[in-house]
């Protein structure tokens, strides 16, 4: 398994080195490194720091009593991503955690292997994304996912291949096959989950765009888990990318929202959320 992984990774590096530098790479397949819940093919530019705050409120179903969820915080994210080069981004974030585990710290790595070219000599962009999540909460007793009898039980991983094409200034489409592994799961659940996601951006004008994403799980899981899906409005103010969205997913990080989304759009269980990010020059 290890050898196969290394071979695939090496092959992808070699593939990326064959990119011709002669043609212009396409600009902004997406405006941000994230869509709603998922990562986009975009990486942080060389030597720039992306600071991000994300928020998911409570269930709208709560009604007036909870001001339609605005009085509850399902998840909160503070994160940094740094562009080591135009292709390589390293990141770290801290989220509250909305699934089984809390106080999540998630280091991540993103590498852009292929960059779509203006003249279509390369029709797609492709980025590899890997994020591991460590729950730093106190261990509990008894038979629970929060009883960390091994350090490994605090850790989960997600790897995704993000493939996107910018069809026009107004329209981009992305697909992302992925794999999520949790080291400890509940009875009857599975440790490994394959997923395939899709995302889109529809640009209305220079400032506003409509974004949406969905991640479908291909695993035999117990009842009560749903595909995380979201739709939102992205606002480009020049210095900041600001996003307001609606999603059923409570968690913000892949290792949280992929395995632990228990809210169902069909039952009106969705929530309001926002993300704000700003690029700093370092």
């Amino acid at each position: 398994m290890k050898n196969r992984l290394l071979t695939i990774v090496c092959a992808l590096f070699i593939l990326s080195s064959f990119q011709s530098n002669a043609q212009d790479p396409v600009f902004q397949t997406f405006k941000d490194t994230r869509i709603i819940n998922s990562h986009s093919v975009e990486t942080v530019p060389n030597r720039k720091l992306d600071f991000r705050i994300g928020h998911r409120f409570g269930n709208i179903k709560g009604g007036w009593e909870t001001l339609y969820g605005l009085e509850n915080a399902a998840d909160v994210l503070f994160g940094f991503e740094y562009g080591i080069s135009d292709e390589l981004t390293i990141g770290i974030s801290r989220t509250k955690g909305a699934g089984a585990l809390g106080a999540l710290v998630s280091p991540s790595l993103k590498y852009k292997i292929l960059h779509q070219k203006d003249d279509n000599s390369l029709p797609i962009s492709m980025t590899l994304m890997g994020v591991s999540t460590i729950s730093t909460m106190k261990s509990t007793d008894g038979d629970a996912l929060t009883n960390f009898d091994k350090f490994a039980h605090r850790v989960s991983y997600t790897a995704q291949i993000l493939i996107a094409r910018k069809f026009s200034e107004r329209f981009t489409l992305q697909v992302m096959p992925g794999y999520t592994h949790r080291n400890k799961v509940a009875f009857n659940d599975v440790n490994g989950i394959f997923s395939v996601g899709a995302a889109t951006r529809i640009q209305i004008n220079k400032v506003f765009g409509i974004i949406a994403d969905a991640t479908f799980l291909l695993a035999d899981r117990p009842e009560g888990f749903y595909a995380p899906m979201g739709i939102g409005l992205e606002i480009d103010t020049g210095g900041h990318i600001f996003q307001v969205n609606f999603t059923n997913a409570t968690g913000i990080i892949e290792n949280d929202y992929i395995p632990y989304t228990t809210s169902n759009w069909g039952d009106r269980e969705f929530r309001f959320g926002f993300t704000i990010s700003r690029i700093f020059n370092l």
Binding site: A144, H153, F187
Partner: protein, 125 residues
């Protein structure tokens, strides 16, 4: 410039993979909760009509919670409880997670009676 990036990526990527393979990759699962039945339940006979109904009427089927025609679910009669019993919802909230009854707790004696009623498959009488 490109060579340095490839090299740094290769090193970072390899470190990432090594970390993943070395430190933590397990396939652990929690044990089957059904096998953790309290042994006393084999000898204790608990039925809804005489023992469980009073507990539910006191702690669950109250007007603000699961009383008659409640939007959260009516628990006033055995026939109305089938929804919670067939998919283990009752067991999950009252016995496993223990976040129900909300705002109050069953006494140890009540809990044991409910636990054994659940373990013996919810007999009515």
């Amino acid at each position: 410039m490109k060579k340095i990036n490839l090299l740094s990526l290769f090193i970072l990527g390899s470190l990432f993979l090594i970390q993943m393979s070395q430190s933590s990759c397990s396939n652990d699962q929690l044990p089957d909760p059904l096998t953790l039945k309290n042994p006393i339940c084999d000898s204790l006979e608990v039925v809804y009509d005489s023992q469980i109904k009073p507990i539910i009427d006191n702690s669950c089927a109250i007007p603000s919670c699961h009383g008659a025609n409640s939007p959260f679910g009516d628990m006033t009669e055995y026939s109305k409880m089938s929804f919670y019993l067939t998919d283990n919802f009752f067991k999950k909230r009252v016995i496993d997670i223990m976040d129900m009854p909300e705002g109050s707790m069953l006494s140890p004696e009540e809990f044991e009676l409910v636990e054994c009623w659940v373990a013996n498959d919810y007999p009515e009488n």
